[in-house]
């Protein structure tokens, strides 16, 4: 069953022929994709809005809406996740696998101090006395680079900046030292300077925890900073995969070539029209 890279290790995450359908009309949005993720590896998943990347991530977490039907196989550390019920999945979520969300403004509950939210993730999976949990939460908030973590722990989300909130979200995702962290466009909602800092933080924290990462983005530049390997997803299928260097320098699929060209604005001579993806890959059924 294992189709790992030939070096004999078991992949941490093995997705085989994953198909996802929605609704009564059973519209298929992910068409039988397969990929694997080695322990400690960082895999980028690139694609435009609606290409199925977030749906794929949610399928791995088992968090798709009730009207979704998932077929194929998702194995986390050898354990089949497809078909598992909520009761069996909940202990894995936040402990073995966790998720960093795109929008730090809405990823934190506005009615709860952020420290309590981080503590909630900790206490769900570890039995600690309240006091010890608090200490650990403050430690982790400090580790993700928040100044004055004691004060931040007691703050409500609205009192924090976007960058601070995203650091809290990262702390929530990493506090239980998961094996797999899924990052769903974690820096898209942040401005460029904060984005660079959060990426650096993610880089350091993933190393510190030793977690694998499935990093979802539409931004090639961001993915190239963090990941070793990259998948390109288009309309629910993986059209290209390989090392970041390979995909960046020698893209084979026209869509990827378009992506690379649009990401390299420095290659465009002044006065010339900027390239678009459509220059390389024209699609008929665009709405």
């Amino acid at each position: 069953m294992n189709r790992s890279g030939g070096d004999g290790t078991t992949p941490l995450l093995q997705v085989t022929d994953l198909r996802i359908e929605f609704g009564r009309s059973r519209r298929e949005v992910v068409h039988g994709i397969s990929f694997s993720l080695e322990p400690g590896e960082r895999l980028g998943l690139i694609g435009e809005s609606g290409s199925g990347k977030t749906v794929t991530a949610l399928a791995v977490m088992g968090l798709l809406a009730e009207n979704a039907s998932v077929t194929g196989s998702i194995r986390l550390a050898g354990r089949e996740l497809v078909g598992l019920g909520d009761k069996d999945l909940a202990p894995l979520r936040g402990a073995l696998m966790s998720m960093v969300f795109q929008e730090p403004m809405t990823a934190l509950d506005p009615t709860m101090p952020v420290g309590r939210q981080v503590a909630e993730v900790l206490l769900l999976h570890q039995h600690l006395p309240r006091g010890a949990a608090r200490g650990r939460v403050v430690d982790v908030l400090g580790e993700v680079g928040l100044e004055d973590p004691e004060r931040v722990a007691d703050a409500y989300p609205h009192a924090l900046s976007g960058g601070q909130r995203q650091r809290v979200v990262v702390a929530m995702a990493l506090i239980n030292r998961p094996d797999l962290v899924i990052c769903d466009e974690p820096t898209t909602a942040l401005d460029v300077t904060v984005q660079a800092r959060v990426l650096k933080l993610l880089d350091a924290e993933l190393d510190a925890v030793g977690a694998s990462c499935l990093f979802i983005s539409h931004d090639l530049a961001v993915v190239s900073q963090l990941c070793e390997r990259v998948l390109v997803m288009l309309d629910g299928a993986i059209v290209e995969q390989g090392s970041v260097a390979q995909v960046f320098t020698a893209p084979t699929h026209p869509y990827t070539r378009g992506l690379v060209a649009t990401a390299r604005l420095d290659a465009v001579a002044p006065g010339e029209r900027l390239p678009t993806v459509e220059d390389y890959y024209a699609r008929q059924d665009r709405t």
Partner: protein, 270 residues
């Protein structure tokens, strides 16, 4: 100037609650003492609002009546919230057939007006304050269920619900820790509106003699008693009527004010 409505509402509601509290320790006269020599006195001194056909001080009766009003309102609204909110959250979180069943059940409940339900209950188990409260409470469940469901549907689209679930929080814990606090504001608005409806229903029921028997006459009963003297002492009916109207007005202003104050967009949600 929307705040003016909110504060008028707060003031009127506070007045009713204050009246109920004051009546516990002090009333100008004994609200149960019949004084045949003092019947149908006009407003003035020493009976500020006059006396009724039994010679009972009307102000004292009003104060004691506020107690019943607040009591019935609080119990009925609590009952409605306890029944309706979990149903609404359940429907909003699970969707699908659960949602359909809850919606159809609330539709059926909606078909029974509070008054009809109270009359049915009174016929079955006898007229009492408890009967009235239970009937009004049950009749208010659908409103709470629908508002809770609508608000839950909105909250469920937020990332923090997904984030909680992605952290391994169970559905049940998520609903109590993350959904309920986030819809509490809308529920507060609904509670104040339902409270007003409950007061009105209670007044109607006691007017019809289907709620509180003597000796703790609520405002509706006072209206009923005053009806006998509608031609000889018409002002007598004014006081309980005014009390009912102002407290309902206060609660509605409070509900509307809260809704505007909390979030103008909640209008669509509710």
């Amino acid at each position: 100037m929307r705040r003016a409505g909110l504060w008028t509402g707060v003031f009127l509601v506070a007045l009713v609650i204050l009246a109920a509290l004051v009546s516990l320790v002090w009333t100008p006269y004994n609200p149960l003492q019949v004084q045949p020599s003092q019947t149908l006195r006009p407003a003035g001194w020493p009976h500020l609002l006059g006396t009724d056909g039994f010679g009972i001080d009307i102000l004292s009766r009003l104060l004691v009546g506020a107690r019943t009003t607040v009591y019935v309102g609080v119990v009925a609204v609590s009952l409605a919230a306890l029944g309706g909110v979990p149903l609404g959250i359940l429907a909003g979180m699970l969707g699908g057939w659960v949602s359909q069943v809850v919606l159809r059940v609330t539709d059926i409940l909606y078909a029974f007006p509070a008054l009809l339900l109270a009359i049915l209950l009174a016929a079955a188990v006898g007229a009492s304050t408890t009967t009235a409260m239970v009937a009004i409470g049950i009749a208010s469940i659908p409103a709470f269920a629908r508002v809770a469901r609508a608000a839950t549907l909105i909250v469920m689209t937020q990332d923090y619900i997904l984030a909680a679930r992605a952290s391994g929080t169970s559905r049940w814990t998520t609903s109590v820790r993350h959904v309920l606090p986030n819809i509490a504001a809308v529920l507060g608005v609904q509670a104040s509106v339902s409270f007003g409806i409950a007061i009105l229903a209670e007044a109607a029921l006691s007017y019809l003699g289907l709620a509180t028997p003597h000796p703790h006459p609520p405002w509706g009963r006072m209206l009923h008693d005053a009806q006998t003297y509608i031609f000889s002492a018409p002002v007598q009916a004014l006081w309980p009527g005014l009390a009912i109207a102002l407290s309902v007005l206060g609660l509605n202003l409070l509900g509307d004010g809260l809704r505007d104050h909390l979030d103008p967009r909640l209008r669509e949600a509710a």
